[in-house]
């Protein structure tokens, strides 16, 4: 221990190396069911130079590194060490917003920058960013885009990885480079800006798509020390609506028809349970809210930005409500005592330190995957049957459907709240989580972001794809020091 701390102290300074077992135990386990192990120590890094030196040292000593950018708590098991003796590389202190460019709608940020911090800074420049649903306050934007978290506005996703564009990465082998357009010229951001290059184009820069090796990688390929993200003009007019429905199937047609015409900005679907979790301020409110709400809802936001904002909103409002009518639905601004505007406010802004999904029972487990919208009813029905079979209250299962990549696919997510202090409830939920994960896998769910047990379920389905991943891992992280134990230890 002594030696490791000495070596790391030389790189980052004593004040940035932590060996305190109490602090380390916080890194060892997150709030998911995924197992974790206590790390050997944690280092706080502040720049790419320090990251490079830590990675070099880790290669020399074959020490596993687990990079963490968001503040605790964590929920997906990806940052809890999967092997003993790991060193946590904590990037949450890298908080610089390196540039915001209104003209090109681009921002370049370090990994410690949270959504709250970025949105505030962007607002000052008349910009904003499409965000994941009610993300927690301490969530790192860089981690979130690398994890390809779904966004509220799928129509601004030109591919699955938007709004992520370029990054600076130190690969597992210790080499540092820029990716995308930024990788095509001198490795100096200031110089690139001088040449009016704003880290815009994500792919390449040549024929190997480097950033695609980092997304969804759970820190197993390299450590990102800045990322550029494509922003949006701040809406000048913004309205929200809720389209209530008795059956999900009615909303399926509605959603297809709306997105197909490229109408709406924010768009997502929830059942009443999930909406109650989102909107309740305390546990006691959940059941009441749930009762007031219709079984299913589509939330539709319409924004007008710089050019004739009011007219855009008015035109789309009329058109979308006509589509709703054609599906036998209505599009009010409030439903069951909650206003669409309040929903959007909550959905589109960072919330508290912990996830809003904890509000009902103190703990929760999510199951999510990608599929197409027409497939979602079958998964939801199967979840209902399995829950009741397993003795988990079906009415507690929250469902959230979020279009991704212009609606080509949907993030289909189930939330299972439980009381962590009740062993039997925890056990039952864990059991349901495992069984449901396996059931969905058999039904054709695509664990696009394969955390925890999903990695085995998903990667085992495709031997050739897995082998390709292994070979790539061998190139970029030859000593396997980057977050070993994740993604089937490929």
């Amino acid at each position: 221990m002594e030696k490791i701390q000495d070596a790391l102290t030389r790189i980052v300074g004593a004040e940035n190396v932590c060996g305190d077992p109490k602090v380390l135990s916080e890194y060892s386990q997150d709030k998911s069911f995924a197992p974790g192990l206590p790390p050997r120590c944690a280092v706080r890094v502040h720049n790419a130079g320090e990251v490079g030196a830590v990675v070099k040292w880790a290669n020399e000593t074959r020490t596993p590194l687990v990079s963490v950018s968001s503040q605790a708590p964590h929920y997906k098991g990806d940052t809890a060490p999967g092997v003993p003796e790991a060193v946590i590389v904590d990037l949450s202190g890298m908080k610089k917003i390196l540039s915001i460019n209104r003209k090109y709608r681009m921002a370049v940020i370090e990994p410690g920058v949270t959504y709250g911090e970025l949105l505030k800074a962007l607002a000052g420049e008349g910009l904003t960013l499409s965000v994941p649903l009610a993300t927690r306050a301490g969530k790192s934007v860089v981690a979130s885009v690398l994890e390809t978290e779904p966004r509220l506005n799928a129509l601004h996703q030109w591919c699955d990885l938007d709004p992520l564009r370029c990054v600076e990465v130190t690969w597992g082998d210790g080499n540092r480079m820029f990716t995308g357009e930024a990788g095509g010229s001198v490795m100096d951001l200031e110089q690139q800006w001088k040449e009016d290059k704003w880290q815009w184009e994500p792919a390449g820069p040549m024929m190997l798509d480097f950033y695609r090796l980092l997304t969804g990688a759970q820190g197993t390929m390299g450590i990102v020390t800045w990322a550029s993200v494509r922003c949006e003009i701040m809406p000048q007019a913004h309205k929200a609506y809720i389209v209530p429905a008795r059956k999900l199937e009615d909303l399926v047609d509605f959603a297809y028809n709306v997105l197909r015409l490229r109408f709406s900005d924010e768009f997502f679907i929830m059942n009443n349970t999930q909406m109650a979790y989102l909107m309740a301020d305390k546990a006691g409110e959940v059941d009441g809210l749930k009762e007031q709400l219709p079984p299913w809802m589509a939330v539709v936001g319409i924004a007008g930005r710089e050019i004739l904002p009011e007219e855009r909103v008015a035109a789309q409002e009329a058109d979308i409500s006509e589509i709703a009518q054609n599906c036998g639905l209505k599009m009010p601004e409030a439903v069951g005592g909650i206003s669409a505007e309040a929903v959007l406010r909550k959905a589109a802004r960072p919330g508290g330190d912990a996830s809003w999904k904890e509000i009902y029972k103190g703990a929760f487990q999510d199951i999510f995957f990608s599929t197409t919208l027409d497939q979602t009813p079958k998964f939801i029905q199967a979840m209902g049957s399995l829950s009741s079979q397993e003795g988990y209250p079906v009415c507690d299962v929250g469902v959230y459907l979020q279009p991704e990549n212009m609606g080509a696919s949907y993030h289909c997510s189930f939330t299972l709240p439980y009381r962590a202090d009740c062993a039997s409830e925890t056990g039952k939920t864990r059991e349901l989580f495992v069984k449901a994960s396996m059931m969905f896998s058999r039904m054709g769910a695509y664990y696009f972001r394969p955390y925890g047990i999903w990695s085995r379920l998903q990667l085992n389905k495709d031997a050739q794809g897995y082998q390709v991943l292994q070979r790539l891992k061998g190139i970029f992280d030859p000593n396997g020091i980057m977050n070993p134990g994740k993604l089937c230890n490929y």
């Binding site: 009016d196 024929m207 919208l373 027409d374």
Partner: protein
């Protein structure tokens, strides 16, 4: 070295005797002039090497069989489909050429808005099928007779509709791909048997090795099927037309509007385009007709709109005062199309377009609003079926400058670039004299707006040595100018690092020499490592740019 009988028969056993040939007449037709760019018939001295055989596989299994044999016998290979570009041709003597024309199936998922295509499904056919479902496809600037899979797997794949539909890299969903070592990779959701809807993941994307900003130009195996995202088409189930060949006009409903937007200055132009990127109102944006040249574009439009029009009419039209005035009016211009999804949407988009013009002091060209011309433009740009016209002026053309940075950077040098070209036009007679500015290209090369993709059309006679060589000289001069301005590689030289002027691939030593000078050599170094891992016998040539050590 000809293929031995054993090897030839082994290939024959895979595809059948009808689908392989070593006939010299056939093989000779699979050679191309090694021009410097991706595509255009440019300066050349020699042809690409003669393939040992041409093989037409009919299925993924057959493709895999061929690739395995190539590995077994150490034979290089390259698959191509529509052969618009020299990229598609082999670059070494001991090679076979795969022609993918037997694989042409298309399946459309109208609900989830994607098409799964085999290589020989060309843009025109996929578009026609998609329109039956109210959908459309991004057809890159190469035009609708080119393979959708080739642009998706092989090259960049941006075009006039990229502003609304995104470029090939963005539209590519899951793919089935025979890797150079003969293994079949299925990317994203397809690998797990979940369908074609997602090309990324699970976890890091294996798709990373198949294409990035540009495709691998046949240098990382063979794409056998790929899903591409489709986009809304708020029009009839086909494009109804009127008129006579070649001046067909589209009879589209009133929600389709085609305008030529004109600007008082390049600053206003850049500002206007940036606002259009942000406004999300365009279905299509392309500076198309200046490709004929600033001084003659309206004359050419007149000729091309008349079924009896001839190039010999040019002189008369060029001096027509009305056309001259129209030319002046649309000196700094771009063609755009709006496609309203509903009457309200059409009305909003029209108004928003007018607002953008008002903000930057722009206007719509009256000349181009003539209903006959407007409907011709709609047919031209929505269908992208007029690619012969790229070559019509002198038989050959080559794009140069290639100002593909952001719109503000490229616009700011447009007059200077035009002046340089005009000087060469005036001082030499081997490139056509068209008024300097002959800049053509898409409003963006990425979804929603971003970098532009512009090239100056340099028209020359591809059958006259002096014209061919003079054009090459001109491109050297424009590259020098680009260097001074720090504008990167001239488009005429984009592929100069992929194939030697004699048509052969570069050796690794030659590549090392070139790519060690990159600003970030690691890019080519990792590409080397990836090639070593997936193409251990190095069978697909030097379009996969590699650097063996850093």
């Amino acid at each position: 070295m000809a293929l031995s009988r054993e090897i030839y028969q082994a290939f024959e056993a895979v595809v059948g005797a009808r689908n392989i040939s070593e006939d010299i007449g056939i093989c000779e037709s699979y050679r191309a002039i090694p021009c410097q760019t991706s595509d255009h018939r440019g300066p050349f001295k020699q042809k690409t090497p003669l393939p040992q055989a041409v093989i037409l596989p009919g299925s993924t299994k057959e493709v895999q069989g061929i690739v395995r044999l190539c590995n077994k016998y150490g034979i290089q290979f390259k698959a191509s489909t529509t052969f618009w570009s020299v990229m598609g041709y082999i670059g070494s003597d001991y090679s076979v050429q795969l022609d993918m024309r037997r694989m042409r199936r298309i399946e459309i998922d109208p609900k989830n808005m994607y098409a799964v295509v085999e290589p020989y499904a060309i843009g025109a056919v996929v578009q026609a099928e998609a329109m039956k479902y109210g959908l459309n496809i991004n057809i890159p600037g190469v035009g609708c007779s080119s393979s959708v899979a080739a642009s998706t797997a092989g090259w960049v794949g941006f075009g006039p509709q990229t502003i609304f539909m995104g470029a090939a890299t963005e539209n590519m969903l899951a793919a089935e791909w025979v890797l150079p070592d003969g293994e079949v990779l299925r990317t994203g959701s397809l690998g797990a048997g979940s369908g074609w809807f997602c090309g990324d993941g699970p976890g890091p994307s294996t798709r990373a090795i198949l294409r990035a900003k540009q495709g691998t130009a046949g240098s990382m195996g063979i794409c056998t099927r790929v899903a591409v995202r489709l986009h809304p088409w708020p029009g009839p189930a086909y494009i109804p037309s009127r008129g006579m060949a070649p001046a067909y006009k589209a009879n589209l409903p009133d929600n389709f509007k085609a305008y030529t937007l004109c600007f008082p200055s390049w600053d206003a132009y850049a500002e206007g385009l940036n606002l259009l990127h942000q406004a999300e109102i365009l279905y299509l944006g392309h500076r198309q007709f200046t490709m004929f040249g600033r001084d003659i574009k309206t004359a050419m439009i007149k000729i091309l709109n008349d079924p009896d029009g001839q190039l010999s009419d040019l002189e008369g039209y060029v001096n027509d005062p009305e056309l001259k005035k129209a030319n002046e009016d649309m000196k700094i211009d771009i063609q755009v199309i709006i496609a309203g999804m509903t009457p309200r949407d059409t009305e909003y988009k029209e108004k928003a377009l007018d607002r953008v013009l008002e903000m930057v002091g722009g206007w719509k060209s009256e000349f181009m609003m003539d209903p006959e011309i407007k409907d011709w433009v709609l047919m031209y740009l929505l269908r992208m079926g007029h690619k012969n016209l790229n070559y019509v002026m002198c038989g050959g053309y080559e794009g140069n400058f290639g100002l593909s940075g952001n719109v503000f950077v490229s616009s700011s040098v447009m007059e200077e670039a035009s002046a340089l070209k005009k000087k060469w036009e005036d001082e030499h007679d081997y490139i056509a004299q068209v008024g300097g500015d002959s800049d053509m290209g898409s409003i963006t090369i990425m979804g929603g707006g971003g970098s532009t993709g512009w090239e100056f059309f340099t028209h020359f006679d591809s059958y006259e040595k002096e014209s061919v060589e003079g054009t090459a000289e001109f491109f050297n001069a424009t590259q020098e100018w680009m260097n001074q301005k720090k504008l990167g590689l001239d488009m005429g030289k984009w592929n100069q690092s992929a194939r030697r002027p004699d048509g052969y691939y570069f050796s690794q030593e030659e590549q090392d020499e070139m790519f060690s000078k990159l600003a970030q050599p690691l890019v080519a170094y990792y590409q080397y490592r990836v090639r070593e891992a997936f193409n251990p016998n190095n069978l697909c040539g030097s379009y996969y740019r590699t650097l063996s050590k850093v």
